[in-house]
């Protein structure tokens, strides 16, 4: 695990990216986060996070073909690097360990 840990939104973006697999670009990633959290997501914040993750080497991107529905603008597809997958696993392990120690409050 790197010195700087993943933020909450960063982790959400990475998990959404994993779920979308080959079709991971801004729209499906934002929709997956909206569906899981129930909160509206600003696409710019998704791209800002993805850019930061790319700078950290956790994500890589490739430009797709432009389409008419997008006003002739191309999609940018994102995929996770091996380092990214390692970071997600490390975050999950840390969170699971912490949650195990949290007393369950019911009612």
């Amino acid at each position: 695990m790197s010195r700087e840990s993943l933020g909450h939104f960063e982790l959400l973006v990475l998990l959404a990216l994993l779920r979308e697999e080959d079709e991971a670009y801004g729209v499906p990633i934002a929709r997956a986060i909206e569906e899981s959290t129930g909160k509206p997501v600003v696409l710019a914040s998704v791209y800002n996070t993805l850019e930061r993750l790319e700078e950290k080497g956790l994500v890589r991107s490739a430009v797709g073909l432009p389409t008419a529905a997008r006003g002739g603008r191309a999609k940018r597809y994102f995929s996770m690097t091996t380092t990214g997958l390692r970071e997600v696993r490390a975050a999950k392990k840390a969170l699971t360990t912490l949650w195990r120690g949290v007393p369950v409050h019911e009612g």
């Binding site: 791209y47 999609k75 969170l95 699971t96 949650w99």
Partner: protein, 132 residues
């Protein structure tokens, strides 16, 4: 179907390219508009889009700032030495250094506070991809 959206919002979106907004981000917004997103959603995206373009632009420009500051300080020092005794210049310099250093420290602390992160997620049993 782009008709129900206000002309102003669509003009702003068309204008976004020229202010350095990411092409793929504008494309994503257009794609979602064609799927019938609400006006509120569009305005929210526009605010985010222009905000991101502005911060990216500012980040690009601040890369020049350390050089500009260093040049300006050198010029001020040379000018001060030419009109005042060097001991007075040194005292003034130390005073400025203390004030500027303190302000810079507070500025740095404030920027770190904005970047703070809280991570609270559901337990492993609630996460669908538990076998990662």
């Amino acid at each position: 179907m782009i008709m129900p959206y206000p002309r102003l919002a669509l003009r702003l979106l068309a204008f976004a390219d020229s202010v350095g907004a990411r092409e793929e981000l504008v494309g994503d917004v257009l794609e979602e508009i064609s799927r019938g997103r609400s006006q509120l959603w569009l305005y929210r995206q526009l605010i985010g889009l222009f905000g991101l373009a502005l911060t990216t632009e500012m980040r690009k420009r601040t890369r020049l700032t350390p050089q500009a500051i260093a040049l300006a300080l050198c010029a001020v020092l040379l000018a001060a030495v030419s009109i005042a005794p060097i001991s007075s210049v040194l005292v003034a310099w130390l005073g400025f250094y203390c004030v500027a250093g303190t302000l810079s420290l507070f500025g740095h602390m404030a920027s770190r506070t904005v970047d703070s992160r809280g991570t609270v997620l559901p337990s492993a049993s609630e996460v669908p991809n538990a076998g990662l």
